[in-house]
């Protein structure tokens, strides 16, 4: 029997659980020859703000510990260009498109939600790892109450669009943060964003990145991400989208076992732009070989090594 890989995120049906993560898939068409956007469950585009952001000084990325540390600084074209230039050709291809929303104030998120509610995007992903200027640059996600307020405001303005909230990895209590944003009305949560990191050249005593610090992604963050997904999925009934270091179908399956309904692929796309298609094919094979009929049958099935 051919496994059924469709998954449900609120009102949204994805044809498979693979989603291109924000920041590695551009505005959705750059990699279409390698991985057509409509072949995936969904694609999430580069984070967008109300007005264009310039981003950080170069260098903006460096490899470390088998992963990638980046400090792009959320450079983007702004929501206006996003809606007029990036979105129409993508929607014409029938891709399921998520807008990754970034802002410096709570109001930025609400305003963007209102604008996107009127657009053809299929869902919103609120990136709450941005520095909150009003709070001296701490990320919105580092305070569960603040994250809940941001979510509630944005959900109110987003109309009937599903709202996913993307959580940062390093918080005191990931279960509490997950609960708070779901209680505030989020359709689902996605985690993790990159892990704060620093790369130093000891001979020159200089930081490798123009922004000094950055965010680690790729293989080294997978165990950390799995643990956060596991804890968050236990804490909420809403769907959890897992990501962090997924490079293969087996990696994706691990996240589903930990409790994820869908997964996102980030850095793997930079290493090989065709990797999501390979992962998709291998995931079908995995489900077939293991006789798993569907994603829900695998989701959250984690056991301890000595459990019966």
């Amino acid at each position: 029997m051919r496994p059924n890989l469709t998954v449900q995120i609120g009102s949204l049906t994805l044809k498979n659980p693979l989603i291109a993560a924000s920041g590695v898939y551009g505005y959705g068409l750059e990699l279409a020859d390698f991985c057509p956007p409509e072949s995936l469950g969904a694609v999430i585009l580069k984070g967008i703000s109300l007005t264009p952001w310039p981003g950080n000084p170069l260098p903006r990325a460096v490899e470390a510990a088998g992963g990638l540390v980046n400090a792009i600084g959320l450079e983007n074209m702004g929501v206006k260009a996003f809606l007029t230039k990036a979105l129409p050709p993508l929607k014409a291809r029938k891709a399921v498109v998520g807008a990754n929303v970034i802002g410096r104030t709570l109001d930025d998120y609400a305003q963007l939600a209102q604008i996107l509610a009127q657009s053809p995007v299929d869902f919103l992903e609120l990136n709450i790892s941005c520095p909150n200027l009003a709070q001296g640059g701490l990320s919105f996600g580092s305070d569960p109450d603040q994250a809940a307020r941001l979510t509630a405001d944005a959900v109110k303005k987003a109309g009937d669009k599903p709202v996913v909230v993307k959580l940062p990895p390093l918080v005191t209590d990931i279960a509490l943060l997950a609960q708070k944003v779901i209680d505030a009305g989020a359709t689902a949560i996605s985690l993790i964003n990159t892990v704060p990191a620093l790369v130093i050249n000891p001979r020159t005593r200089r930081a490798a990145l123009g922004n000094v610090t950055g965010g680690l992604s790729g293989p080294p963050i997978k165990p950390l991400a799995l643990r956060q997904v596991y804890l968050a999925a236990k804490a909420v009934k809403a769907p959890v989208i897992g990501l962090g270091g997924i490079f293969s179908a087996l990696d994706a399956a691990e996240f589903i076992v930990a409790g994820a309904t869908a997964v996102q692929i980030g850095t793997a796309i930079l290493a090989d732009p065709g990797s999501p298609l390979t992962i998709l094919k291998d995931l079908f094979d995995f489900f077939s070989q293991e006789n798993i009929p569907s994603v829900p049958s695998l989701r959250g099935t984690l056991k301890g090594p000595n459990e019966p």
Partner: protein, 273 residues
Amino acid sequence: MTQNPTLTRRPISQTAKVLSLTPRGKNLYQLTLKLATLGPFADPGLFARLRSWGPAPAAYPLLDRPFSIHRYRPNQGELDFLIRPVGLGTNLLTQCRLGDPIQLLGPLGQGLGNLIPDYKNRPFYLVAGGVGLAPMANLIDQSKGPNHLFYGEREGQSLIDKAYLTSFAPNFTAVSEDGLGYGEKGLVTQSLKAALERERRTIFACGPQGLLAALAPLARSYGVNCYVAAEAYMACGLGVCLSCGHYLVDGSRIRLCQDGPVVDGLLMDWEKS
């Protein structure tokens, strides 16, 4: 400069084979690949992503590495790169054995032909700093000239083998900052300035950012065009990650991997990156 978000030329992903790996200096290798699929690699300044190690995350480095096309012989299906080992990826690539498979993704970016379609018929001053020499051979191979190459290394001992340089560049001035090796002591910009005094020509340059930045005022003062193949760290080379964002003087931003690497050097904001 025309910003071209949608390339008409599509990069090809293929497995090429190492045909030869020839030392061309103290710390410099010519890597010749036998292509499985030909492609439009000729435009000077285009680059490709290379990987001689296994797929991530089983083998490191994590990402492919970007290199300029050094020379292209479509009739033989051969593509050359000129590689200077500086770290893990470049060391692995320059330790390949004959016949080894190389994962190649390219051609990537915009070449000189995007800005000067008839580059083959134009006279140039070619300016190369260090391994920025790589794309110059590609232009010289195709050019009806006349061209003069100004090639500099910080250390004279790092200069490319003179016989190999002579084999593709009939007219060159080699310099080094320490005056060692076969080069004259000095900076390429000094030799270029002297040449511009005698005759004005369009400049095509590749090398460290400091060199490219220094060329802009020189070109302006002599009223010549200055096209440069600019470098930045590039994680994807495909326009999606924005690790290569760069400012233009008008305050707008480009992605060097897509809108470049060959750009109008006079439009680049070299102060801000």
